[in-house]
């Protein structure tokens, strides 16, 4: 259905869309981390005026460990494009898209606190859903399941019991 539009986009992007597939009706572009900003700029000029989501995937055993994923939507073509890149655990840094899309600011904040991806260029990477003083990145696969970091001390004499059972 969208293949004609996708072909047009591929032609417009040229060599930058070399590594592209279509999955679940979405055009998927896999790129290197340093090519993200340029490709996003090109997508924006192609009519992809909306940044839907910025998130990450933690492949614990893989190297490089993380996928960073962006979803774009075109309100004129009514199609979506997914942009994905790989970053390593040692240097999980990609460029921020805040100069292009204002909505990137909060989504990058969330991705930063949950996965520890650094977005260079985003000036405000304070915790959004978590709180100041939270140690670690809870959506990483190696974060302990019961890794609670209470802000309020538990009541005196309270026995939490064995939460690992069951």
């Amino acid at each position: 259905m969208n293949s004609a539009i996708f072909d047009t986009i591929r032609t417009q992007l040229g060599s930058r869309a070399a590594n592209s597939t279509v999955a679940h009706g979405i055009l998927v572009l896999a790129v290197e981390p340093d090519a993200v900003t340029g490709l996003a700029q090109a997508l924006k000029t192609c009519g992809f005026d909306m940044l839907l989501d910025v998130t990450a995937i933690d492949w614990l055993a893989r190297e490089p460990r993380f996928d960073v994923v962006w979803h774009f939507y075109s309100t004129t073509h009514r199609v979506r494009v997914r942009l994905r890149t790989r970053v390593s655990e040692g240097d999980p840094t990609v460029d921020s898209l805040t100069p292009l899309y204002g909505s990137a600011a909060f989504m990058e904040r969330e991705c930063h606190e949950m996965y520890g991806i650094r977005f260079s260029g985003n000036a405000d990477l304070r915790p959004l859903l978590l709180y100041e003083g939270f140690v670690g990145f809870p959506l990483r696969k190696d974060y302990p399941k019961l890794g609670e970091q209470p802000l309020v001390p538990y009541r005196e004499g309270f026995d939490p019991g064995d939460r690992t059972a069951g």
């Binding site: 859903l129 978590l130 709180y131 809870p138 974060y143 399941k145 019961l146 890794g147 609670e148 970091q149 209470p150 802000l151 309020v152 538990y154 009541r155 309270f158 939490p160 939460r163």
Partner: protein, 177 residues
């Protein structure tokens, strides 16, 4: 060097079962009954509503189930004016200081109801974010299970709380007074 201590004076004890003591106990018991009866029918709930159990709270508050029959209908949105803290929904670790502050701002006498399984035990949330039961932070008087609880369950919980209030001692002078 030893100092001679004055002997400790022994207070005259009142004979057990004397008429004066019995009358005092009778009046104290009657006072507790009266205060309990008055308090159990004038519960002013503070709805600390954080999640989807709120829908069930609305359902149980409105006319088909009508908690007004139990004197617990009028929500007060100031902790100073309320005496029943209804914790309705999941409490996260980020929310916990707020819950504690609301509880501490309430005047005595006060009771706490854990409404739904999340407030009771954390429910199916077993992760970095959720408090596994508000009784880790504040004392709870009545737990209501269910995800969400049926209105009948909530009404049963209110009635059990009323029984608890009716049976309790209601000292006029407390340690904080």
């Amino acid at each position: 060097m030893s100092v001679a201590r004055a002997p400790i004076p022994i207070l005259p004890t009142r004979a057990a079962g004397s008429s004066k003591s019995a009358a005092f106990e009778y009046l104290t018991t009657k006072k507790d009954e009266l205060a309990g009866w008055a308090r159990k029918f004038s519960l002013f709930p503070y709805p600390f509503v954080t999640a989807c159990c709120a829908m069930e709270f609305m359902s149980v508050s409105s006319s088909p189930y009508d908690t007004d029959r139990f004197g617990a209908a009028l929500p007060r949105f100031s902790p100073r004016q309320s005496d029943l803290l209804m914790v309705v929904g999941t409490v996260t670790h980020k929310q916990a200081p707020i819950l504690l502050k609301v509880y501490e701002q309430m005047c005595e006498p006060k009771w706490v109801m854990a409404f739904g399984v999340c407030a009771t035990s954390g429910g199916f949330y077993q992760n970095y974010a959720a408090v596994a039961g508000i009784d880790r932070i504040i004392p709870v008087d009545v737990y209501i299970p269910g995800c969400p609880p049926r209105p009948e369950t909530v009404i049963d919980g209110i009635m059990q709380l009323q029984d608890k209030i009716a049976r309790a001692k209601h000292p006029i002078i407390t340690k904080d007074f």
